[in-house]
Assembly symmetry: C2
Homo-oligomer: 139 residues x 2
């Protein structure tokens, strides 16, 4: 069942979820983690991205640089299949547990958090291995 | 070694880290996870909170509601001891791996993400056990 909200037709099916979420400037942050507990990335979703993620079972994000909702992995094919959605105590953020295809990071690492801070010399260390070559995937 | 930056004395010791971070409206989001891979919460830090976190080895956050930097667990004693800091590929967010004392959530759960979305009936389910009674801890 669909109804008009503003200028858009939206499904009633997620009203219960959407009511619990606080969008700030239209966006809510989502921690993306895999089932083994590795944190992969932090994304931002608008209402439409939340709806598309749940409707398709694949994470969609709002890319500010593109000004639109995009399937995560649209170019690379490295999609994230949704296993579980959790909401924090305040409704200010989401946790999405996913099956990650290949890798989450466009620099070729499984996780975007591939740099570890070394306080001893105040530098960032690459502490993960590259799993794909970005120049081959993105051309 | 300290030097004057704006109106504040700051340590040079973290310039390498701070240079890599993009603060938006003065804040950067940090995913807080424990060593077992459980995502506990999403916090926001300003520069001072990053510095205090690294100097003390305990997570400090900027609480917008209080308008100041606070030790996470200041009231409850449920502090988070820092084990590792990671920076995402764009410098837009942090991942802090911690030893969590008792619980991260002021509602009494180990994680703030204690509610799971059930698409079948469009509701949120409590899927974690309470580990402390908030009324006893916060009075």
């Amino acid at each position: 069942m669909k109804r008009l909200q503003g200028s858009k037709w939206v499904s009633n099916a997620m009203d219960g979820l959407l009511r619990e979420l606080n969008f700030k400037d239209g966006l809510i942050p989502a921690v993306i983690a895999d089932g083994d507990g590795q944190v992969l990335t932090l994304c931002y979703l608008d209402r439409e991205a939340v709806q598309k993620t749940l409707e398709t079972g694949k994470v969609h994000v709002f890319r500010r640089s593109h000004g639109r909702v995009m399937l995560k992995g649209e170019t690379s094919g490295h999609v994230q299949e949704l296993k579980e959605v959790r909401v924090d105590c305040e409704g200010n953020s989401l946790l999405m547990v996913v099956d990650q295809h290949v890798a989450a990071c466009h620099h070729g690492y499984r996780t975007c958090f591939y740099r570890r801070y070394r306080p001893a010399d105040d530098t960032l260390d690459e502490c993960e291995k590259r799993v794909f070559d970005p120049s081959r995937v993105y051309g």
